[in-house]
């Protein structure tokens, strides 16, 4: 019996536990009806700060291991750009896309909930540099510049890492925005061992995402955000409050659909000139892995 083979568009989602709601997610994207499949890697405790070490030039080892496992990197190089015969053969054999892979990184929530939130706790509020519908509580303020420095300290290494990925040819890397925090104060007390009002926590996530979006854009990448769909009055809609930390799969699906929409709208990013060169040489009956003869020779 003949079975119709369909190709699947893989999206590689790697990072902290916010990568988990995507696990085993398969759906048809709404424009072409093609299958989309999430391939995930959960790195326990992954943070923006530890994603990449600018001093040593090293990424988080689990991140590199994931890229290698998925065949996106081999011998320290992006396989989709490789002119190596073995990489080319592997790609051909598995029918793997020769375009830059779609990767989404989920980090930041631990950075926000950990060291940055501790500046505020239940004792302080702050005024962000953008308009928000969230109230300013009658509490002492942490100056925005201090919040900004704290976010910067977490995001600096991460953005340096993203820049390295882009330089290495991974031009279709997305970053998931930090999801709106739970409204459940008791859950936060349980997790954090201290209180912090939902308006302050949510405003802090807004501020983190505000900076994250700017910085991700500065390296020509894109942050995936569906804040207005996930919230009501800037607070997390109850139907998206899964366990007090993560989105339910239906919330994650919204974000993944946004990524797919953006990827479809940004086909210019998929240009893969080294591979086009290889295919061109093959089409001309040449050995693609032998250098062309020079006219002068």
């Amino acid at each position: 019996m003949d079975t119709e083979l369909e190709t699947v568009l893989p999206v590689y989602i790697v990072g902290d536990s916010h990568s988990l709601p995507y696990r085993n997610m398969v759906f048809r994207e709404r424009w072409t009806g093609a299958w989309v499949m999430a391939r995930t890697k959960y790195i326990p405790g992954a943070t923006a700060r530890e994603f990449y070490n600018p001093a040593t030039g090293e990424f988080h080892p689990d991140f590199i291991a994931f890229l290698e496992y998925e065949g996106l990197v081999r011998n320290g190089r992006a396989t989709h750009l490789s002119m190596d015969e073995v990489d080319f053969s592997i790609a051909k054999a598995v029918g793997q896309a020769v375009r830059p892979p779609l990767i989404m990184i989920t980090v930041g929530e631990i950075d926000v909930r950990g060291p940055i939130l501790q500046l505020l706790k239940d004792s302080h509020d702050f005024v962000p540099p953008f308009a928000t519908t969230l109230p300013l509580l009658d509490k002492p303020l942490v100056p925005w510049d201090i919040i900004d420095e704290a976010i910067e300290a977490r995001l600096g290494p991460f953005i340096a890492g993203l820049d390295q990925l882009v330089q290495a040819g991974f031009k279709r890397v997305y970053v998931q925005s930090v999801v709106p925090p739970t409204r459940q104060e008791a859950r936060i007390r349980e997790l954090q061992k201290y209180d912090c009002p939902v308006s302050v926590r949510t405003k802090l996530v807004q501020a983190f995402n505000w900076k994250l979006a700017q910085k991700v854009r500065s390296v020509n990448l894109f942050m995936i955000d569906r804040w207005s769909d996930l919230t009501e009055g800037d607070l997390l809609r109850p139907e998206f409050d899964f366990d007090g930390v993560h989105l339910p799969p239906k919330g994650a699906r919204l974000l993944l659909e946004t990524l797919i929409d953006h990827a479809i709208d940004s086909r210019g990013l998929v240009a893969n000139h080294p591979r086009y060169e290889l295919y061109y040489r093959m089409a001309c009956g040449l050995d693609p892995f032998q250098p062309a003869k020079s006219n002068a020779a």
Binding site: P115, Q118, L119, L120, K121, S123, H124, V127, P128, P129, L136, K139, P140, L141, V142, P143, W144, D145, I146, E149
Partner: protein, 362 residues
Amino acid sequence: MSCPYTTLPASSFWRQAVAERSTSELDPHLTARLRFGPDQRIASAGSCFAQHISRALKARGYNYYVTETAPGYLSPEQEERFGYGIFSARYGNIYSTLQLLQLLQRAFGGFQPADQFWTDPDGRVFDLLRPRITPKGFVSMIEAEADLKQHLRAVRKLIETADVFIFTLGLTESWVSKLDGTVYPTCPGCGSAGDYDDARYAFHNLSVTETTGYLAEAINLMSAANPRLQIILTVSPVPLAATMESRHVMQATTYSKSVLRVAAEEMVRRYDNVHYFASYEIITNARNAGAYFADDARSVTPEGVARAMNLFFAHFTAESAGATARSTGDGAGQRSAAPPAEPQIVCDEDEFYRALAASRKS
């Protein structure tokens, strides 16, 4: 009847109290009427020199009372940069008695300056009454106003709940708004925030009557808010960085310090809850021959600071002057080239001076 001078103690006679004593023995105090312990809440405000008192209180384990506290997890460098813990609230330097009075009037709701905020070309907003409290200014007017509201609340709480308030009088020369008489810590547009504008700002050197009157009003206001409050006044021994008067800066300094010293004296005579600490006399007395000043004849040396602080604790606490002097190794020794190794003092006036010097070089 015998001559009344014969009944006086040695401290009343220059020869016994000063000329026959070594510098390290000089102590211009009699027994203080006020003593505080580690449990009492000690607050402070004033000029740059006042920071030595707050630091010494903290270093010796006294309860230095801060009502505008830093958020948790800030580094000491961040705390200092954003003005936390330098004084009991984030008011920055308070140089004149009118500045103190207006701060209290603002805190207790009686005064709202017409010209307090200034926006720089990048849109950052500065509070001209505490221009260095956020190094880059506030991110918006909303933040500036919200922060001010919390600051004034912290000042109110400070005055209402402190046990002792130490105020170091620094200057009489002031810059005021022509709109409503708001007094600024430094001239707007000189080294810190603001744009200098002849039409908006005027120089004013407070007279002894004004200085005394404003200080009395400030004390009345504080005592009404907190009848238990004890107040210690000191006069900064640090000379003026610059004068706007058309006379030599030395004359201007003598005038300013004399007025401040008289005002302090007047308050001690007038109010039972006001006390005087003679930091000015300790540092500047002729017996020292300037030994407690660095080569610039303006900065007080670490030895001078240590001596003043030891005497402060000896008279106002249960500590002994001799013991503290020995433990911290003070004494007017050789003149220091500069005040080194001391933590940096946050001083609006010095910032102005540095900016002025830089503008003259360029």
